[in-house]
């Protein structure tokens, strides 16, 4: 009997391969499970109605995080107001109107590279342009504009991809039926690309909601005793608040730190879930 113990037949090889690959796939979701598990374990006890809706007090060692939640909400909405129309318009131009030449290829490469710029650099840029030069001060406006510039490349490139995924034949047929280019875009291309565009938009806004560095110099406040009353006020924000209570305040209760992180994660995850719902609704409505 000259059988090699290590020599597997092809069925066994296949089973081993599947097992190995699914193990690897599982490891990729392990971190997210661990992160959420840890946050719930360590910060779950901090979550209460008062924590969500109250102001911090006692040097932030007590009380809630309401101003930071509201601040992050304002900043996300502000970012959306600037970056979504501009981003989608740019994507439509690039995908539908621009010619494929050196200039547009350069623009595309620039957009891709913009998404690789470290967020702290955006923060410094925002400080120079919006806070100091345009004299918007450290404010919701400056911070939203800075976050918008950071978010734009994500929105543009994902939206352009979604637009390009719409079959060229739809455009040809629409035009051959006497539609103008804009009617074709408005009635066929945009509705078809919408689920993909929404996904891109929410991915971009999610990143904006969780960023600390770009708002550090442009609009985030260490502590404010009242909510911002205009877009020219500074604001507290969840990611910056988390940074502050984790590093700047001695003897900070651990459950408040983890509780704050838990709320931030919940904020971002709920945007994600919203995106999924909107997308599947859009798909269901179109029936394919």
């Amino acid at each position: 009997m000259k059988t090699n113990f290590f020599k597997l037949n092809r069925n066994q090889t296949q089973k081993l391969g599947f097992a190995f690959l699914s193990l690897l796939a599982l490891t990729t979701i392990l971190p997210i499970i661990l992160i959420i598990g840890l946050l719930i374990y360590k910060g779950g006890s901090a979550i209460s109605w008062n924590f969500i809706t109250g102001f911090p007090h006692d040097g932030m060692r007590q009380g809630g995080i309401w101003p930071a939640i509201i601040g992050t909400f304002y900043l996300t909405v502000g970012t959306a107001i600037f970056s979504v129309p501009l981003g989608i318009a740019s994507a439509i131009y690039l995908s539908e109107y621009s010619k494929d030449n050196t200039l547009t290829r350069t623009i595309r490469i620039a957009i891709i590279n913009l998404s690789g710029i470290p967020s702290v650099v955006y923060g410094l840029f925002g400080l120079g342009l919006f806070v100091l030069f345009l004299k918007f001060g450290t404010s919701i406006l400056s911070a939203s504009l800075t976050l918008s510039i950071m978010t734009l490349p994500v929105i543009i490139s994902t939206s352009e991809e979604a637009l390009r995924a719409v079959p060229q034949s739809f455009r040809t047929v629409s035009v051959s039926l006497g539609a103008t280019k804009w009617q074709t875009i408005r009635r066929i291309v945009l509705p078809e690309a919408l689920p993909g565009i929404i996904t891109g938009v929410i991915l971009g806004l999610e990143r904006a909601a969780g960023e600390t560095a770009p708002i550090l110099f442009t609009g985030a406040a260490f502590f404010l005793p009242q909510l911002p009353s205009s877009i020219f006020d500074a604001t507290m924000a969840l990611p910056y608040h988390l940074f502050v209570i984790s590093t700047q305040i001695p003897e900070m209760p651990v459950q408040i730190q983890f509780g704050t992180a838990l709320v931030l994660i919940a904020f971002v995850l709920s945007m994600n879930i919203l995106a999924t719902i909107v997308r599947s609704q859009a798909r269901a409505k179109r029936q394919w």
Binding site: K99, P167, S169, F170, T172, V173, S174, V175, S176, L177, G178, A179, T180, Q183, R187, I188, P191, E192, R286, Q287, W288
Partner: protein
């Protein structure tokens, strides 16, 4: 017999340098089926796309000659392209249904022109589906997604969609290339009906289909119109050797 379309000394050259059409002279008879046939790359599709100006001006290096529809030069820069495309409908080789319901596919062309009267739109749906021999099969599910139709039904829907605009000319570029023989037969039969009201230009997907359908036929080879005459004549006693070789299956 009257000529609906006159093509005079028409040449077309694409930006990539491949000469596509050389000095084409052709008269398309009104209320008849004019078949343009020949091996792939002969310029048939390019000619169709020129007739309703679907070629992207970006891709064209050179364009010469005239294409007249009822005496209007469609290459005239002042020509209203949107209006031209309403007058000249086009059906493509692969049926492309738009991502709407069956009804909306047909009304789309009318709606983009600003037609809002629901009665007129509904009448157009019934009339054009009848003309394309599809009404009886699908009249109960007009609001279903068009993509749910079979390939043959989709292609007849595409024909109906062109007819909804009440064009003067319908051009079909290998409309049955993806269809089974039964669906092909249905499409060919409806073309015979349609020619009573419309002028039809057909690029067939086979010589047999060309012979079956043609009132007049032109043989295209490498950008040139080799021979053009009555369908009966060109398929039984062609004058040019190349045409004879092609229709008898000696090449192509």
């Amino acid at each position: 017999m009257t000529d609906k379309i006159l093509i005079e000394n028409f040449s077309l050259q694409y930006e990539d340098g491949i000469e596509s059409l050389r000095n084409i002279n052709l008269a398309v008879e009104k209320n008849a089926i004019t078949v343009l046939f020949g091996p792939a790359g002969g310029g048939k599709s390019s000619l169709l796309r020129s007739i309703n100006r679907l070629n992207d001006p970006e891709d064209i290096r050179l364009i010469n000659g005239r294409i007249l529809i009822d005496g209007d030069d469609i290459l005239d820069p002042k020509m209203d392209i949107i209006e031209l495309r309403r007058r000249v409908g086009m059906v493509f080789a692969r049926p492309v249904v738009l991502p709407f319901s069956i009804r909306k596919n047909i009304t789309y062309g009318l709606e983009v022109m600003g037609e809002k009267d629901q009665n007129k739109l509904n009448n157009a749906v019934e009339r054009s589906l009848n003309q394309a021999a599809l009404w009886e099969e699908i009249k109960h599910r007009l609001d279903d997604p068009a993509i749910a139709l079979s390939g043959g039904q989709q292609q007849r829907l595409c024909i109906a969609r062109s007819l909804a605009l009440e064009p003067e000319v319908i051009m079909l570029d290998e409309p049955t290339s993806g269809l089974d023989p039964i669906s092909t037969g249905k499409v060919e039969n409806s073309l015979q009906e349609l020619k009573k009201d419309y002028t039809i230009i057909l690029v067939p997907h086979s010589v047999q289909q060309a012979a079956r359908t043609a009132d007049n036929a032109g043989f295209f080879l490498q950008g040139e119109l080799i021979e053009f005459s009555h369908g009966k004549k060109i398929f039984t006693s062609p004058e040019v050797k190349k045409t004879e070789d092609y229709v008898t299956g000696r090449f192509g």
